[in-house]
């Protein structure tokens, strides 16, 4: 019986030392945890601002691009009418030159369409930002649990949490590698009879 009690005390002693050591470690990390939990809302806010700023910039580029597209449309229409008149007046050289201008306008039109298409980057950025915000929300929730469970006190200056940043990057990288290209999508569609 004494032997058993002795063993039990030993186990309890080990457990107590472990808890004490864990509490000290958490306490030592307290500034970083507090700093992280208080800075994350600001990080979320920065990311949301980033999303809004790219949207505003994209919409402005779109507005100007659409304006140029409309102007090109009007110019092309006028050029076409002038070319017709010149042809009836037997001015093939001038008509030919106007034809060249029309073809340059058409090339520019293609470039403008490509500019519009390229602006879809904003949608992809916004989706990544959304993912980051949800990851940050999750991290913040976990940190707050630590703060509540261990009663950590706010004490100090900011500290970097390289581990968290690393995890975020890994998640982003993972989502990038799981993305599928159009060619792969087409191959799969072909297997389902899409031709």
């Amino acid at each position: 019986m004494h032997k058993l009690e002795h063993k039990l005390y030993e186990e309890l002693g080990t457990l107590t030392r472990f808890v004490d050591s864990a509490m000290k470690a958490i306490s030592a990390a307290s500034p970083q945890i507090m700093s992280g939990s208080t800075q994350l809302p600001a990080a979320v806010s920065h990311l949301s601002d980033l999303s809004k700023m790219t949207e505003d910039g994209t919409l402005e580029v779109m507005r100007l691009t659409e304006m140029i597209q409309d102007n090109h449309g009007r110019i092309a229409k006028d050029l076409s009418a002038i070319t017709e008149v010149l042809q009836t007046m037997d001015c093939p050289t001038l008509a030919g030159r106007l034809g060249n201008v029309t073809s340059v306008l058409a090339q520019d039109g293609k470039c403008l369409t490509e500019i519009m298409t390229a602006l879809s980057f904003q949608d992809l950025v916004a989706q990544r930002v959304k993912k980051l915000v949800s990851i940050l929300d999750e991290v913040q929730g976990r940190l707050m649990e630590l703060v509540v469970v261990f009663g950590l006190q706010e004490s100090c200056e900011a500290a970097r949490d390289a581990g968290t940043a690393g995890d975020l990057l890994k998640q982003l990288e993972k989502s990038n590698t799981t993305a599928m290209k159009q060619k792969v999508a087409d191959d799969i569609l072909a297997q389902f009879g899409f031709k």
Binding site: Q69, D123, L189, F194
Partner: protein
């Protein structure tokens, strides 16, 4: 089936920039009769209230996703024949298979080009 350039096209995306891009490209391709909706639910309301010949939809949207909207369209006697093109960054094989099983007419992965959109429209309406 020849493509009717006057057909009414509904562009569904929660991002205003994407709606504008898709509408712009459609216009450059000769389809100027377009309308837009911010999510699947709004799109369904519009589809039930008006006549549309074609739907171009995103996948990830609040309120109702593109895939749920697609299922609702296919389950609706009046709408089920409407061609639906999914334009999405949700580009995992499982998503594509899910879309095919739900009755998608074709699928474009973002970012895409005007040529890709033109090619898909031609395939849907050939």
């Amino acid at each position: 089936m020849a493509v009717d350039p006057n057909m009414r096209i509904l562009v569904v995306d929660d991002m205003v920039t994407m709606r504008r891009i898709v509408k712009n490209i459609l216009k450059q391709l000769g389809f100027a009769n377009t309308d837009e909706a911010e999510n699947g639910q709004e799109a369904l309301q519009k589809l039930r209230a008006d006549t549309y010949g074609f739907v171009v939809s995103d996948w990830n949207m609040p309120v109702m996703t593109g895939i749920d909207m697609l299922r609702a369209i296919r389950a609706d006697e009046k709408l089920k024949a409407t061609p639906v093109l999914m334009v999405t960054a949700e580009a995992q094989q499982s998503n594509l298979i899910e879309a095919v099983q739900a009755g998608v007419s074709n699928y474009i992965v973002k970012p895409f080009t005007a040529e890709t959109l033109q090619e898909k429209i031609a395939k849907i309406f050939k």
